[in-house]
């Protein structure tokens, strides 16, 4: 594509689809991220209407015939309403269907609990063979996209096209990236909150508190060594996620620590058995304690009180 055009999810998907005729773009009438694709892709753009279950079944059928369907819906409707279709028709068959869930977690901002996908990671990692990719921002999303489409695995992408100034290392499935070094506390996160975690670490560095930030990037496959390395480096961890603690990244991390017989304190910073108060994203982050200053407070406590949640 031309060097002048802005790279977005839509332009990168279009490029990939132009290069690979197996790629078809499917949506359950959710066009926010792919608005200009109908005209570009012709019959390889398929809008099935507000029919998430039918969309997944049809995607499985197309994948059986050799296509790589990239399907779009809001994350709640995709992973919840169509869950059994994803499990049965994509999961059992192990088909290369790519599930793109819009406005996951806090990104649903003022929509309310019906739109809060805060159990999507738990559900998707519960399907054998399903990859789960959580980009931290638009640049990571765009780096991940060709890798995800080249993989034969069924994959869930927790869509996040936020613009940040994070610089990423090349994207690999199952490979975390280390964003900051530090000895006092290791923080593990993925997705939307990563830049806020990084900003909080930067604030604490000015106070002389060293926070080591790891962006996990993919929950399945998981970079276990990055988790083990973080635990060994700092001896105390915090996990930050816009997801329920049940089945989310906190529990994934704890499972790894137990498996490796590492006994270190782990502070969960996520949603503990509740939906969040709907509001615009910056207000949600602040109220729920996930803005950089609020995270910095929580990290400071975690780093200085031996890791006991307070």
């Amino acid at each position: 594509m031309s060097g002048l055009a802005e790279r977005t999810y839509s332009t990168v998907l279009r490029e990939l689809a132009s290069a690979d005729p197996r790629i078809v773009v499917v949506t359950a009438e959710n066009r926010a991220a792919i608005r200009d694709l109908p005209d570009r892709l012709g019959d390889r753009f398929i809008d099935v209407g507000i029919c998430e279950q039918t969309m997944i079944g049809m995607a499985a059928g197309m994948a059986l015939r050799g296509r790589i369907p990239v399907v779009h819906a809001l994350a709640t409707f995709l992973t919840l309403r169509a869950f059994e279709f994803i499990r049965d028709d994509v999961g059992i068959a192990g088909l290369p269907v790519k599930l793109v869930g819009g406005v996951p977690g806090f990104l649903s901002d003022a929509n309310g609990p019906t739109h809060q996908a805060i159990e999507d990671i738990a559900l998707m990692r519960g399907i054998p063979g399903m990859h789960v990719v959580c980009p931290a921002d638009e640049s990571e999303l765009l780096e991940a996209l060709p890798v995800v489409l080249a993989s034969p695995a069924p994959t869930y992408i927790r869509f996040n096209a936020s613009r940040t100034d994070l610089a990423h290392t090349p994207f690999e499935l199952g490979r975390a990236e280390l964003l900051t070094e530090g000895d006092d506390l290791a923080v593990l996160s993925a997705g939307l909150l990563v830049p806020h975690v990084k900003a909080a670490a930067d604030l604490l560095r000015e106070e002389g508190i060293g926070v080591r930030v790891t962006n996990l990037r993919t929950i399945v496959p998981l970079d276990e060594q990055a988790i083990v390395g973080a635990a060994r480096a700092c001896g105390r961890l915090a996990v930050v996620e816009d997801h329920l603690l049940a089945g989310g990244i906190y529990q994934v991390v704890c499972e790894v620590l137990v498996r490796h017989r590492l006994s270190v304190p782990v502070v969960p910073i996520g949603l503990d058995g509740r939906w969040f108060r709907p509001a615009l994203l910056p207000d949600v982050l602040d109220r729920e304690g996930f803005s950089a200053p609020r995270l910095a407070e929580r990290f400071r406590r975690a780093a200085t009180n031996g890791g006991n949640p307070s």
């Binding site: 029919c51 039918t54 049809m58 059928g61 197309m62 994948a63």
Partner: protein
Amino acid sequence: MTSPHADLETLSRRVRAHAIRMATRGGCFLGASLSCADILVHLYQRVLRTSPERRSDPGRDYLLLSKGHDVPALYGTLAETGYFPVARLANHLSPDDHIYWHPNRAIPGIEFHSGSLGHLLSVGMGIALEARMSGGPSRVFVIVGDGEMNEGSVWEALQVAAAKQLDNLVLIVDRNGFQANVATESLIPLEPLAEKLSVFGFATTEIDGHDHAALEAAFAELPRRPGRPTAVVARTVRNKGLPSLEGRAERWFVNLSSDEVRMLLDELEGSARADIRSEPLVVR
């Protein structure tokens, strides 16, 4: 004069016998298997442009069994038409094979697994849409149960099939009149089913699903209307071929003694009605 469909009637009887033989040592969903046996035999012998040799041919026709529990009839049909040896049917429920109560793609001829109701119409639509997109001649036949039509996903898919003008798609409803445990019309009435399918945009016909002449006419010219998916409401009888069990609500899943299997095989060949005492199982 010999019936022009004598070969099909003979084959249907053999397929029914296979299903009856699977209804022991654990049992199977015999009722639905016998209601759709004639449809399956007819499709494989007269309609589907496919064969064991064309199993991987992208231009083949596809058959998908959406309700799934009628798979003994499909396995019987596939074995009889050369997809795998008839002897393999004796592996029913063996942990060392894949022949169990719902279809599995590991068995030659099975295009897709099912078991959860209301899935394969949309999977079939994806196959049909892809075939059209790639300019292929494939037609997709999806068999659903009438009880299965309780599922909202079926009606969701019907709308999309019509909207996408999938005229290479044929929906066949095995209209045997029963849900799992009770008559459809006594629980969630479906009628007027053919009319409903018509107004949903399907070129619909309603036939006797045990009459090969009627089946032949229903599938003679596809699509029945260009630009529209086809629907065939095939009126059938649960446990068809076994008068002692026909149309009985409690004989959906059956697990017979070996004596009872023998009696039913005799009954299938025209001897006296069997006297089946095995306790009906409530699976669902």
